[in-house]
């Protein structure tokens, strides 16, 4: 565990989260949320939680994002806030 790397990823994660909830285009938000998940998964892998990281990679960054995309493509990409 390298705490500087850890901290950098953490900051990336926070930035991604902020962007994901603030960007007006929902599709972008979703993709950024995917990035967020992936960064999280990196973080956990680096913390020694391999199983959690694996799951987050398949679920959070994979299935979850895909479900979001599928839903957004059937509704609207626009968001007022």
């Amino acid at each position: 565990m390298i705490w500087i790397l850890d901290l950098m990823i953490l900051i990336l994660v926070v930035v991604c989260a902020l962007v994901a909830i603030n960007v007006k285009d929902l599709l972008s938000a979703t993709i950024i949320f995917g990035v967020y998940s992936f960064a999280m998964c990196l973080l956990w892998a680096e913390m020694g939680a391999v199983d959690v990281a694996f799951t987050e990679a398949t679920v959070g960054a994979g299935i979850s994002t895909i479900l979001f995309v599928a839903a957004i493509l059937h509704t609207s990409r626009r968001s007022k806030d």
Binding site: V50, D51, A53, T55, T58, G62, I63, L67, A70, H74
Partner: protein
């Protein structure tokens, strides 16, 4: 091959022969990897849940590259439902079976030793394997069906 031509004849935006062929080749490997993740959960990261998601992802990939009807040929809605039930039943059923066995408790795999004497600890290991398979089945079918339903807005036809 004929199917492929049909597909390309009614080609929509984003469907390309290269991708479709690549996906066709890739899908068995993905599924194999998914199975590996489930089975090898005892020794490496992974297990029923992760493997199940990977298996489900293979169907998602098929749907994305072709369309939903094509993917449904591999696993129909009915089969999907059966599999999810089977997976969940495998887990809960095993758990209850342990309780039914004389002197056993709920989810106490070592109690299954009375059915087939392999040794209590071996049964624990094997029991974990059985339930991982159950989880895998359920997760695979449901992650696929979640995507299909959301992707086709509940119509189960063309998909995205």
């Amino acid at each position: 091959m004929r199917l492929l031509q049909d597909q390309t004849a009614g080609q929509k935006l984003g469907e390309s022969l290269i991708i479709q062929t690549a996906v066709r080749m890739l899908v068995p490997f993905i599924q194999l990897f998914g199975l590996y993740v489930i089975v090898h959960g005892h020794y490496s990261p992974g297990g029923g849940f992760q493997g199940g998601v990977i298996l489900g992802a293979s169907f998602v990939l098929l749907t994305l590259a072709f369309d939903q009807k094509f993917a449904l040929k591999y696993m129909s809605e009915k089969a999907n439902n059966m599999l999810s039930n089977a997976g969940a039943l495998l887990f809960t059923g095993t758990a209850t079976l342990c309780a039914i066995c004389y002197g056993g408790m709920f989810l106490d795999y070592s109690a299954l030793d009375k059915l087939l004497p392999l040794g209590p600890i071996a049964w624990r290991s094997f029991g974990i394997f059985v339930i991982e398979v159950g989880v895998g089945l359920a997760v695979m079918s449901i992650s696929a069906s979640l995507f299909w339903l959301l992707g086709s807005n509940g119509e189960m036809d063309e998909g995205l």
